[in-house]
């Protein structure tokens, strides 16, 4: 489902003497449907950078990232938008939403965007929010006022509302208590069972061991300092 080959990344800082900073080279791995791969490496090793490149949020310098039939590295913005709508989900660490929009609508958006009728979308979203222990009295409120853990769960609900064939998860269990953590782990397991290809960053080692079929240490993709 996801194939990454010879991927590299550099940042060019035009306003700081045009410094060119190579941050990754020769990244290579693939993820099959129903498989979960963990990205590992110390803080700053490039886990999030790699994940952002796969989502099309960072541009690659060279190489390819194929998700299904699409190569993210050469895809047009519209192709990436279509891929994000139908194929590639991303649960980031931070919730970014239009203020004042009710939680129900925030979570239903990926379903509505793919043509689910609003009544059916609402039912699915309500079930998911209930499962993630978001109290019903909060559903009609904007998540911007929620606690960190609640926002995290709204973000997860949004990422799991639509059954994406490929999923990127950045610390999905961070800031969750034991019970909610278990619910999220189950959701991820169910996604695997339905055949989703998953790439995750987990500082939670027990979660990583339980969910992931293999690990990719991104430290190996560090460009040589001398080069």
């Amino acid at each position: 489902m996801i194939h990454i080959e010879n991927l590299s990344k550099t940042f060019t800082l035009h306003n700081q003497g045009s410094a060119v900073i190579p941050v990754m080279s020769g990244a290579e791995f693939s993820v099959a449907p129903g498989e979960c791969v963990a990205l590992t490496g110390a803080s700053g090793a490039g886990k999030s950078t790699l994940m952002r490149m796969i989502y099309g949020n960072y541009l690659a310098a060279s190489g390819s990232i194929r998700i299904g039939e699409t190569d993210i590295v050469t895809a047009t913005p519209r192709e990436i938008l279509r891929l994000r709508r139908h194929t590639l989900g991303y649960v980031s660490q931070f919730l970014r939403v239009v203020p004042r929009v009710p939680t129900l609508d925030v979570v239903a958006e990926p379903l509505l965007a793919t043509g689910t009728p609003s009544g059916k979308a609402r039912e699915q979203v309500e079930a998911l929010l209930a499962r993630l222990n978001i109290p019903e009295r909060l559903w009609s409120l904007s998540p911007t006022t929620f606690s960190g853990g609640e926002q995290q769960r709204v973000n997860i609900a949004r990422g799991f509302a639509y059954p994406y064939p490929a999923l990127l998860l950045d610390e999905p269990t961070a800031s969750l208590d034991a019970r909610n953590r278990e619910t999220v782990l189950r959701l991820i397991e169910e996604a695997k069972v339905r055949g989703a290809a998953i790439i995750g960053i987990f500082h939670d080692e027990a979660a990583r061991d339980r969910l992931c079929d293999s690990e990719v240490d991104v430290t190996a993709f560090r460009p040589e300092r001398a080069a």
Binding site: F11, T12, L13, H14, N15, R52, G56, N57, Y58, L59, P77, R78, I80, L81, R96, V97, V98, P99, R100, V101, L112, A113
Partner: protein, 155 residues
């Protein structure tokens, strides 16, 4: 300007053939409240409105006929931030439900991020960078875009 707020919105409907007074007034009221102008101001003249309200009235007036394409020049400039949020949500809903296409000119990068699918950065009459909105904002390639993004004040 010497026409009521409701008349301003209704005028556009009449221009595309609406003739039923009740229907026109109901649509005008619907759109006036959608842009968060209190419904009981429908018979007031825009000259009695604040700048932000006039701007919202203009938005209602332009969307009431269900256009396929709208151009908006700084649509959220000068708006109270709470109204700005409501308007962003309204525009996103219209894009999704009515298949509306919109081209927006703005200086507000937060608005760009929440509203736009694609982004074009211009300087001195030239497009210096273009692409997927979040990619251009998070990994800008051109010196000017990098300067813009790094100059945004954090709230």
């Amino acid at each position: 300007m010497n026409v009521s707020a409701g008349g301003n919105v209704g005028e556009r409907l009449m221009a595309v053939g609406a003739r039923h007074y009740g229907d026109i007034r109901a649509s005008a009221l619907d759109w006036i409240t959608r842009v968060e102008i209190p419904g009981d101001r429908i018979d007031d003249r825009p000259t009695a409105f604040s700048g932000g309200m006039r701007q919202r009235l203009q938005i209602a007036r332009n969307l009431v006929t269900g256009p396929r394409l709208v151009f908006m020049d700084e649509p959220t400039g000068g708006l109270d931030v709470s109204v700005q949020a409501r308007l962003l949500d309204l525009l996103r809903g219209l894009v999704r439900e009515m298949g509306l296409s919109a081209i927006i000119v703005t200086h507000d990068l937060a608005v760009v991020r929440l509203l736009a699918d694609r982004l074009m950065v211009m300087k001195d009459g030239h497009v210096v960078e273009t692409g997927l909105t979040d990619q251009v904002l998070d990994d800008p390639q051109h010196a000017y875009t990098q300067l813009l993004v790094s100059s945004v004040l954090q709230v």
